[in-house]
C-alpha cells in the first residue's frame, strides 16, 4: 500500500515536472531564438572570413574597425558619455535617495513624486521636450533672460545634451533601487550605533555603505548597459559627429546598408558590456537567492 502510494506521488511529481517544462518552453524558445542565436551567430560570423569559398578564422573585421579612426573615435566617445553620465547619475541620485530614506513629510513626498515622474515620460517625448526646453530661444533661455542672464549657449546637439537626457531618464529607476536598498538599513541599527557614539560619517561608512553595495551594483550595471546601448537620446539630442555606438550602428545598417559592418560594431559593444552584463545577472541572482533563504 505504501509503495503504491509512493509510486503514485512520484508519478505525479514527474507529470508535474513535464507539464512545467512544457509551460516554460515557449518563452525560453523565444529568448533562445531572438537573443542567444543572434548574439552567438554574430560573434561567430565576425570571426570568420571566406577564403576561396572556404570559411576561415580571422580577426580582419575587427582589425578594420580598429584601424578606422571614425569607428574608434565613436567607441571612445560612447565610453566617455557613459562614464560621465554614470558619474552624474550617482552624484544626483545618491543624496536624493539618502534624503528620501531618512526624511518624512510633505517636502520629502513631493521630492519623491518629482523624482519618479520621468517613469511616465517615454524617451521619445522626453527628447522633444528637452529640445523645446534647452534649445536656443527655448523655455530655459527665456527664463534666464527674464532674470537678466543673457548669452545662453544651448547644449542641444552637443554631448552635454546627451548626458542631460540620459540622466533625466535614469533618475527614477536609480532612486527607486537605491532607496529600496537603504530601507534594509534598519533604524534600530543606526540608533544603536549612535548609542555607542558613532557619528553620522561613521554610520554612513560602516553601516549604510556596506548594505547598499548590491543595489549600487545593480544601478551601476543596468545604467551602464542602458547608456551604452542607447539610441534615441544620442540620435535626437547629440552631435552629428562623434556618434555614440547606437547611432553609429543604425547609420551603418539603415543608411549605408552595410549589415556586416554594423554586426561587427554590435559585437564590439557586446564584448565591452559582457563583464557588466555578467555583473548585473550575478548581483540580481545573489539578491534573489538571499531573499529566498530568508
Amino acid at each position: 500500500m505504501t509503495t503504491l502510494a509512493r509510486t503514485s506521488t512520484r508519478q505525479r511529481q514527474w507529470r508535474g515536472a513535464i507539464l512545467a517544462y512544457l509551460l516554460v518552453a515557449p518563452p525560453l524558445l523565444l529568448m533562445v531564438l531572438l537573443i542567444f542565436i543572434p548574439a552567438t551567430q554574430s560573434i561567430a560570423r565576425t570571426l570568420t572570413i571566406s577564403v576561396d569559398g572556404q570559411p576561415g578564422f580571422s580577426f580582419s573585421r575587427y582589425a578594420a574597425f580598429f584601424s578606422d579612426p571614425i569607428s574608434v573615435n565613436n567607441l571612445l566617445f560612447t565610453f566617455q558619455v557613459t562614464l560621465l553620465t554614470l558619474a552624474v547619475i550617482f552624484i544626483v541620485c545618491f543624496p536624493l535617495s539618502l534624503y528620501l530614506r531618512f526624511s518624512t513629510g510633505r517636502i520629502a513626498s513631493a521630492v519623491q513624486i518629482l523624482a519618479l515622474f520621468p517613469l511616465f515620460v517615454p524617451g521619445i517625448i522626453l527628447c522633444y521636450a528637452l529640445i523645446r526646453f534647452l534649445g536656443t530661444r527655448g523655455t530655459l533661455d527665456t527664463l534666464l533672460s527674464l532674470v537678466g542672464i543673457t548669452g545662453y549657449r544651448t547644449p542641444y546637439l552637443k554631448p552635454e545634451a546627451i548626458v542631460i537626457g540620459l540622466v533625466w531618464e535614469s533618475i527614477p529607476f536609480t532612486v527607486l533601487v537605491l532607496t529600496a536598498g537603504l530601507r534594509q538599513v534598519s533604524d534600530t541599527l543606526i540608533e544603536s550605533a549612535r548609542d555607542v557614539g558613532a557619528g553620522d560619517w561613521t554610520i554612513f561608512r560602516r553601516i549604510i555603505l556596506p548594505l547598499i553595495v548590491r543595489p549600487a551594483l545593480i544601478v551601476f550595471s543596468l545604467n551602464f548597459l542602458g547608456i551604452f546601448g542607447s539610441y534615441t537620446i544620442p540620435y535626437l539630442l547629440g552631435p552629428a559627429a562623434p556618434q555614440m555606438m547606437g547611432v553609429f550602428m543604425q547609420q551603418t545598417f539603415g543608411q549605408y546598408r552595410r549589415p556586416d559592418d554594423a554586426e561587427t560594431q554590435a559585437v564590439i559593444t557586446f564584448l565591452i558590456c559582457a563583464f557588466v552584463g555578467f555583473l548585473y545577472v550575478r548581483t540580481v541572482a545573489s539578491q534573489r537567492l538571499t531573499r529566498e533563504e530568508e
Partner: protein, 287 residues
C-alpha cells in the same frame, strides 16, 4: 551616555534628528525647486506648444493660444496611418506576450522542477545586453530571413522586450498569494479549474493587470526595435516621431503628437501607487 538619554523617545528622536538635520540645511527645498525646474520645465514647454498658435521669444507663455494646428496634425496621412496601427500592434504584442508568458509564470511559481531558479534567472539575459547592439544583431538575421520591413519582424523584436516583465511580475504574484483559500476550496470538492478561475485568478488580478498595462505602454512607446526592423514599410507612431522631430518645420506637429502619445502613459499614473507598492516597477528591471 547618561542613563537618562536611553529612553524610547531617544530612539525615536535620533531618527528624526537625521531627517531634521537634512531639512535644516534646506536640502529638501533645494531638491524640490531644482527637480521641479528640471523635470517639469521640459514638459511645460511641450504641453504649451501643443496649444499655441504663435509663441514668440522671449515670452514665457504662448503669444497666442489656439487649436488650429490640431486639425492640420491629424489631417496628415502618415499620422492617420501610424496611430491606429501602433495601437493595434501594441495590443497584439501584449496579448501574444501574455499567451506565451503567463502559463510559464504559473509554472515557475507553483511547480517544483529541476532548474527552475536558473531558468527563471535566464530571462535576465534580455537586460544584460547593450540593447541597440542586440537589435542590430537580430536585424542582421531578419535581413537574411527577409523579415526587415514586415509586421511579423516588428512583433518578434518587440516581444523580446516584454519577456522579463511578463514573467517576473506574474511569477511574484502567483508566489505571493495565500494558498490556504485554494486548499479549503479543494477540500470542499471544487474542481481545480474552478478553484483557479474563482479563487486564484481574482487574487493575482491586480498584479496581472499591472503587468499587462506596463507591457502595453512599453510596447506602444518602443521605437528602437521598430525603427531598425520596421523601416521603410512599417512605421509606428514613435518611429514617426523621429522624423517629426528632425524635420521640425512646424513646432506644433511634434508638440501635439507628443501630447497625444503621452496619454497612454498617463494611464500608468492612475495605477502608479499599486505598481510602486507591489515593487512591480523594479521587477521589470529584474530587481
Amino acid at each position: 551616555m547618561t542613563p537618562a538619554a536611553i529612553t524610547p523617545s531617544f530612539w525615536m528622536s535620533t531618527r528624526r534628528s537625521f531627517a531634521a538635520a537634512m531639512r535644516r540645511d534646506g536640502f529638501g527645498i533645494i531638491a524640490l525647486v531644482v527637480l521641479a525646474l528640471v523635470i517639469l520645465g521640459p514638459l511645460y514647454s511641450v504641453v504649451l506648444w501643443a496649444f499655441a498658435e504663435r509663441w514668440q521669444y522671449p515670452s514665457l507663455i504662448p503669444t497666442q493660444f489656439g487649436l488650429s494646428f490640431w486639425e492640420q496634425t491629424f489631417a496628415r496621412a502618415d499620422i492617420q496611418r501610424a496611430l491606429p496601427f501602433s495601437i493595434v500592434l501594441a495590443s497584439v504584442v501584449t496579448l501574444l506576450s501574455a499567451v506565451i508568458c503567463l502559463p510559464a509564470s504559473y509554472a515557475f511559481a507553483r511547480i517544483k522542477f529541476r532548474g527552475r531558479q536558473a531558468l527563471l534567472l535566464s530571462f535576465l539575459a534580455t537586460n544584460a545586453f547593450p540593447r541597440f547592439g542586440l537589435y542590430v544583431s537580430i536585424a542582421v538575421i531578419f535581413f537574411r530571413l527577409n523579415l526587415i520591413g514586415t509586421v511579423p519582424g516588428v512583433i518578434l523584436i518587440q516581444l523580446v522586450n516584454t519577456l522579463l516583465l511578463m514573467i517576473w511580475i506574474p511569477t511574484a504574484a502567483f508566489q505571493g498569494i495565500d494558498r490556504s483559500l485554494e486548499e479549503a476550496a479543494l477540500d470542499v470538492g471544487a474542481s481545480p479549474l474552478r478553484v483557479f478561475i474563482q479563487i486564484t485568478l481574482p487574487m493575482v488580478m491586480p498584479a496581472l493587470s499591472a503587468a499587462l498595462l506596463l507591457t502595453f505602454v512599453n510596447t506602444f512607446y518602443e521605437a528602437q526595435g521598430a525603427l531598425i526592423v520596421g523601416l521603410p514599410r512599417v512605421v509606428t507612431m514613435p518611429v514617426l516621431m523621429y522624423s517629426l522631430i528632425n524635420s521640425q518645420l512646424v513646432v506644433q506637429y511634434g508638440a501635439i503628437v507628443s501630447f497625444v502619445l503621452w496619454m497612454p502613459s498617463l494611464l500608468l499614473l492612475l495605477v502608479a501607487n499599486r505598481l510602486l507598492r507591489g515593487g512591480y516597477l523594479t521587477a521589470g528591471f529584474g530587481v
